[in-house]
Symmetry: C2
Subunit: 598 residues, 2 copies
Amino acid sequence: MLIRLSQLFFRTLREDPVDAEVASHRLLVRAGYIRRAAPGIYSWLPLGLRVLAKVELVVREEMAAAGAQEVHFPALLPREPYEATGRWTEYGPNIFRLKDRKGGDYLLAPTHEEMFTLLVKDLYSSYKDLPLALYQIQTKYRDEARPRAGLIRGREFIMKDAYSFDIDDEGLAASYQSQRDAYERIFGRLGLEYVIVAATSGAMGGSRSEEFLTPTAIGEDTFVRSPGGYAANVEAVTTVVPDAIPFDDAPAAHVEDTPDTPTIDTLVAVANERFARPDRPWAAADTLKNVVLALVHPTGERELLVVGLPGDREVDLKRLEAAVAPAEVEAAGDADFAAHPELVRGYLGPGAVGPNVLVADGAERTAVRYLLDPRVVAGTRWITGANEHGKHVFDLVAGRDFTADGTVEAAEVRAGDPAPDGSGPLELARGIEIGHIFALGRKYAQALGLTVLDQNGKAQVVTMGSYGVGVTRVLAALAEANNDERGLAWPAHVAPAHVHVVATGKDPAVFEAADALATELSSRGIEVLYDDRPGRVSPGVKFADAELLGVPLVVVVGRGLAEGVVEVRPRVGGTTEQVPVAQAADRVAALVAELLAG
Amino acid sequence: MLIRLSQLFFRTLREDPVDAEVASHRLLVRAGYIRRAAPGIYSWLPLGLRVLAKVELVVREEMAAAGAQEVHFPALLPREPYEATGRWTEYGPNIFRLKDRKGGDYLLAPTHEEMFTLLVKDLYSSYKDLPLALYQIQTKYRDEARPRAGLIRGREFIMKDAYSFDIDDEGLAASYQSQRDAYERIFGRLGLEYVIVAATSGAMGGSRSEEFLTPTAIGEDTFVRSPGGYAANVEAVTTVVPDAIPFDDAPAAHVEDTPDTPTIDTLVAVANERFARPDRPWAAADTLKNVVLALVHPTGERELLVVGLPGDREVDLKRLEAAVAPAEVEAAGDADFAAHPELVRGYLGPGAVGPNVLVADGAERTAVRYLLDPRVVAGTRWITGANEHGKHVFDLVAGRDFTADGTVEAAEVRAGDPAPDGSGPLELARGIEIGHIFALGRKYAQALGLTVLDQNGKAQVVTMGSYGVGVTRVLAALAEANNDERGLAWPAHVAPAHVHVVATGKDPAVFEAADALATELSSRGIEVLYDDRPGRVSPGVKFADAELLGVPLVVVVGRGLAEGVVEVRPRVGGTTEQVPVAQAADRVAALVAELLAG
């Protein structure tokens, strides 16, 4: 393969695009790999398409190695199957919906569990047909509220989605493991660092789920790790619950005037000033903060919710959303407080919410739902709002003085928190989700009637798994992990070419020699990008473009030719070599082989 | 490549799907290549995907040979570019439109002229960058009123769309020819018979357009050919206009009572009975039929139209639609006639329509638009409606007694009609449109501001071409052209495999020998489908499946093995050979090489 830059449809930009927040987005646009067509929607230029094809090839090969067969579904799908599983509604505003000319409801599929389930139901009917694994590499759609970071969170993107079908739980476990292994091979071959973390299943449903994250500071996902090997998406971290505390000897709760203490800080200051306790000063952790939020259910229904948690922790909205999925979470507004005068801003306590509100027998319950952080176990004593402006209550004991409608994992996870499995203190890091695997179980098969006959001729609901790789996102993650201030620096396996040959100056002999070298390399199966642009394009521009494009090996044919040498330099690290022209092809081929092997 | 049927995700059907009208649809579903997901929307199973990949490969190779570079655009696109060229409206109900969560207007692109134009505008600015040819293989959407015939007229389908960009007309002519040549090579390599016919440009605009049709009785498109080599889509045929006839000596028009003659047949019968002329009987061709139709403009506006044409010809709605594009044509209804009492059903004549209606000076014109068949030249004499129930007018002379708002190519083309270029009588045939090429000219570049600087530094609007191949439709056309009563019969180049090895019976030695042969063939680079399903699947089922799937060479390992032979038979024609096991691989390899060469 030999691509001449004089013929290639590309243009590099010296300036960053104004909307680009992260390096991958900035550089993929500047180097002419992609262009924005609409928010979160991109067009692919020839070089971008080459990298994409290489990523897809690795995915295809490893899917085949895992015994998964490729199929391909439409992106435009009718409502009915998604209605049957509830996802038409559950996805809320996150899917694109449309009507055809006859008024029929359609969607642009965000993922294809329903269609795979129905296809297997259409074709198969016996346990002998299982296990089965199918996959597709396909364009997906998601109407993200905030598309960002170029390809990392887009609204039209390419996914590899695989699905497994088994007769029993052991089968599912094996299928899940097979895909998990394939993912390790895929990311390993792509040279993409990854962490496998426990995850929540969200709107997908199912019993077990893990995410593959590639660590990067610009990642949208926060994950935790412990020295003992625990790893989880922050949404999936469960709080280590302390033991309950006996409270028989606890003093009675007492309400105190605490004017001008609408925040935890002001409250703690006043408490220490006016209600100091002998053993140690009051701290934020002694206060119970009650945060008013609104859940927006997929039906559009809006429900107020109060979350009670230790005052030294914030509510993590992503953790709360994972806990209340498929509902989304919004801040409560003035209208909400106006509708609920019992929610006294800044002085809200448990007494005004949840089961602590006395409701007359038989009366319709109107109290706002109240959920507590799991740390608020029976016997813990709190300073908290007295539901009256300027007043707080002290020594309010959980389980004696108040209770709740349940617990919720909504508090932020902090570095140093204990791992739920006892494997030590957690550390936090950020990453990009590049893969997500789910043991779905029987949710979809049940909803859509996918059964097969077992050995005894009895119909059994099939158990399924679903396994996604964000193909375009993986490409962005590779760009994010492989760049420097001068441009992209692709790993050899996914680079748009192996070698970038630059001819500089205006001497026809240089162009002849460069052309001969490029042709020779190409004839040996090496992929060559050859900058044959005429002399009016300066060497500086050519070098800058070579570094921006990021092909792993750069060969310069220029002034050195007079002395019979060309310059060979790796895009990253390594040293520049002066190689005699006659040996250039051999030397470059050897270096390419090293890069591909390494 | 070796695919074992025991592992392959497929299922053959003995019954035709109820909605399948044509062989390709019926057999692709029955053989387990595709499945219907919604009207005009299909899912691809593993075997179908393999054929599709082979068709795409041929297209990609020939695009590369034509110097076109591959890019890839989103399917989901914002309204604005399509608004700028007018196509957002012109496509009427034929495109899928939707809104995103912020209320922005989007469409699922039916074709990408606008986006390619904008991308080239983004990247290029000089005549030195041209000529340029780009293409993509991409999923397209069209909300067809009547999706039909499986993949032949779908709502989600795959197209190769290429676009050329040139500085001047000569450049466009060369680019057009280059794509035209590539199309000939593509269809030639695929072994798909094709005819290139002149076509109309429709909503695409442009100066020149040709269609590639593959002749088949089930085709939706009618085309014409002459002995002298003229070929055109029936929509593009222009009528040979006779010379005007002097009418100074023509008798005056006279109205006659013709009760109960609402049709041409009844009119001709009464005319011959009561108004016989000496030289020859009246015929339908002597009457002028005036047909009331309604145009529906893309804006939704409805406009009545009367078409006058010789009574021996019908209005061809597809020809009329091509002539009035982007408007669509509907039959006029009772409400239309009620609103226009001057249109006397069955007795309508020119006097009631178009410029023949006397309109008071300065009055707003309200007469229905009247268009004539080009054969109705000045001096032709007609029997036609007198605009009064039960009356016709005789000797009404065109150009003397009536005129029209213009002419229109709306009459049906009939076998025997003269070719417009004088190359002899036309014959009619039907075909499937598999490619369409357009010399677009400057319409899109003008609308979207794509200019480049010429050699004198002056901005020049770029001239474009657009070139489409219906990839999924080509696959269906191949299936349509290559089947018999037993199933599909793929040409070797696009078949999902080269050889179909069948092991019959339950003898383990048979399966061992078949497995060894399949493995050996596969190791030689031959693509093998191996029916290794266990003995409970009868030989009859296996043979029927082999013929349904349509792989070009079938090898049966079965009872003959006891005598040391396997049976080798081509799917189509040829004779069955008994080949000694030891020579089987060589013989099969030779036959495959022949098939691929031939």
